[in-house]
Amino acid sequence: MVDATHGPDAHAAEFPDVELYHPRSWWTRYVFSQDAKVIAIQYASTALAIGMVALVLSWLMRMQLAFPGFLEFIDAAAYYQFITMHGMIMVIYLITALFLGGFGNYQIPLMLGARDMVFPYVNMLSYWTYLLAVLVLVASWFAPGGPTGAGWTLYPPQAILSNTPGQEAGIVLMLVSLILFVIGFTMGGLNYIVTVLQGRTRGMTLMRMPLTVWGIFVATVMAMLAFPALFVACVMMLFDKLLGTSFFMPAVAEMGVQLAHNGGSPILFQHLFWFFGHPEVYIVALPAFGIVSDLLATHARKNIFGYRMMVWAIVIIGALSFVVWAHHMYVSGMNPYFGFFFATTTLIIAVPTAIKVYNWVLTLWRGDIHLNPPMLFALAFIVTFVNGGLTGLFLGNVVVDVPLSDSMFVVAHFHMVMGVAQILVIFGAIYHWYPKITGRMLDNTLAHLHFWVTFVGAYLIFFPMHYLGLMGVPRRYFESGDISFQPPSAHELNVFITVMALTVGAAQLVFVFNLIWSIRHGKPAGGNPWRATTLEWQTPQTPPAHGNFGRELPVVYRWAYDYSVPGAPEDFIPQNQPGPTPPHHEGSE
């Protein structure tokens, strides 16, 4: 912070012509800050903190599956509450919030050469609404009856019936929390979109934006259009729960008593939920795609292969993801012809996705690969995403999906493709950008330890789980008991998976320790430790000061991937460096 020594108004004097918010006190600088970088760190810390809760929940679930009865406080109700909260937190409050609220806030202004988001005040409100949503979610643990155990999909009618745990207050708090999240997220999302459209510096055309920004941008547009469906579904379910309406609730008899609900359609909820839910998968995948592209190019010292194709693929995936939602509903009893249509669209998405994977691999081809932690995580992402994607081909086909539905195979599939894969990118991105955020490197030895245990461990958890699913082990069961089709080896596998899950979870503590320890004790990083081309590495100060770029905004002269340009003095040319036409321009020499 340059102005820390000159008083709060130093910036106003320093950039007289810049419309910029100027913090005037410690509170407005670090707590109620309108600086996108501070908001990003707030978003990321909150998301990681609540994510740790979800991690502990997964341990408890695994303990129950492997050693039923060992932890006495886990009864069936508690188990369902753990499942629900683990899923909801991981998908929405951790991954979505971290990618868009965390990385979006930090990277978009810096990578585009902007001083801040275009609506800083709204951006601040976005974070505080998100925090409120998280607190409401956490509050459901302390409410009578505990959090809801309806499963992360919250399907009615069971979500609001009395046999479901958390029926008293948990489900209401869950729905309110989601509504708050959507409202807060809309405020942030408007910022990200409009900053990309209007806040770019001179020379930064859309086709010169780093793929990280492309991924976050398209994901945010999708989120803006998909989250209203979640909002509508939550509001209508609140009506059903609190006012006794029958939007989703059919005529139900509960404990022999006919309820007042009548005629509602649970399928209607499923349509609304998955109209949000499927784009959500790509809302967390597209930022990961973008970030991984940048990590690979930087750490393989090569330009990204097929940049245009990468951009088009991001846009096409974004558009297609809105017409595949009902592939989550093959067994819901909807018209089978729908299933045929949605299976087709689902398989079509594999085409742009495969293009991206080929381009990542071709970026690595004959690159100068540095196997440092960000690169390791990026490579692990490619492998994991391909693995998860391949099982997606199984589940996307109706005839294969029907027998595998609600089995452990599905759990393994979506954990690989939208859990582990994205988390790996998040780790890689944190190892990559931590030096810019704090000015210090993370410890390399601990990083390698973290990587290998996480990567290998995740495979040891989720690969056997596919096998369990093929054997017919169902998901969501509190306890399997004596089921004749399950051989004893299934249980032994469950024990193995649990041990691995505990190990991988413990490795995350190493990561958290590294994050905290390195703030003070890490090696000083300098401004551009990875010798990267994008604008965030070219800031005058590290960590970037308020206003990001000092007096003059950078001017962009080239795309984001001029690595190893033949004839250039260094193996990277920053985007804001003017220079001669590179020799790889055909006919320029």
């Binding site: 547009v221 803006m224 259009l225 939007f247 009548n262 359609s265």
Partner: protein
């Protein structure tokens, strides 16, 4: 969900049209220097706020379209009994139209540079919007007095749900309108509130459009219109 798909097809067409102008086929690795002749955006707040409102309206539009989609799906499930349209809804519609017209008048005053008329226009618009909200509450009261409670029938549930959400959006708009009014009273020149007035007018026009669509949905004309279209197509 077909109405939702239609809206999203519209969004996709717009996005495609916009992207087509963004030189997505250029080869950035061959280009150097500051590229001129492309939309050059300076970090300026006026167009950003316009774009922000545009996106916000798209989000609000998707929300109400999703509600309409849910409405059509739920309506066909057999237990639907349309509720009578309270006559006061016509008066409310008139109030919202007048509120919107007052904002158009305010925009004209901005162009003429007349700060006094601008203040009057804003105040009148706010008053009519409040009248609209009050009228909606009266409509709720009348319906519930006649026994049309929120849970009695899905038609009633949808009525309360969509009018409530629409009313909340008007209420949110009133905050922005109040902010513009306060600004107009605090300054002697129209320039300071030009953008506020413009954005409020756009928002009001959009919410009026949403209301007209919702009203026709509630009154059943939208269904009659769709049936007519269906008959024409078949």
């Amino acid at each position: 969900m077909s109405v939702v798909i239609m809206l999203f097809a519209g969004f996709a067409a717009f996005a495609g049209w916009w992207l087509a102008q963004q030189r997505l086929t250029s080869k950035p690795w061959l280009e150097q220097g500051v590229i001129e002749g492309v939309p050059d955006f300076e970090a300026s707040h006026d167009p950003a706020k316009r774009a922000g409102l545009g996106f916000f309206l798209a989000i609000v539009g998707s929300m109400f379209t999703l509600l309409a989609g849910a409405y059509f799906m739920r309506r066909d499930l057999g237990d639907w009994q349309a509720l009578p349209v309270p006559p006061i809804l016509w008066i409310n519609t008139g109030a919202l139209v007048l509120s919107s017209l007052a904002l158009e008048y305010t925009q004209r005053s901005v162009r003429r540079g007349d700060i006094v008329r601008l203040r009057v226009g804003l105040a009148v618009a706010a008053l009519f919007a409040l009248a609209f909200l009050g009228g909606q509450l009266i409509a709720w009261q009348q319906l519930s007095a006649e026994g049309y409670y929120v849970a009695t029938n899905p038609a009633n549930s949808f009525f309360y749900l969509v009018t409530g959400l629409h009313g909340l959006h008007i209420l949110g708009g009133l905050v922005a309108l109040g902010w513009a009014t306060a600004k107009a009273w605090g300054s002697e020149k129209v320039e300071g509130v030009r953008l506020n007035v413009e954005l409020c007018a756009t928002y009001w026009l959009f919410m009026l459009f949403v209301w007209v669509v919702l009203f026709s949905l509630i009154a059943g004309w939208a269904s009659a219109f769709i049936e007519l279209c269906g008959q024409l197509l078949s």
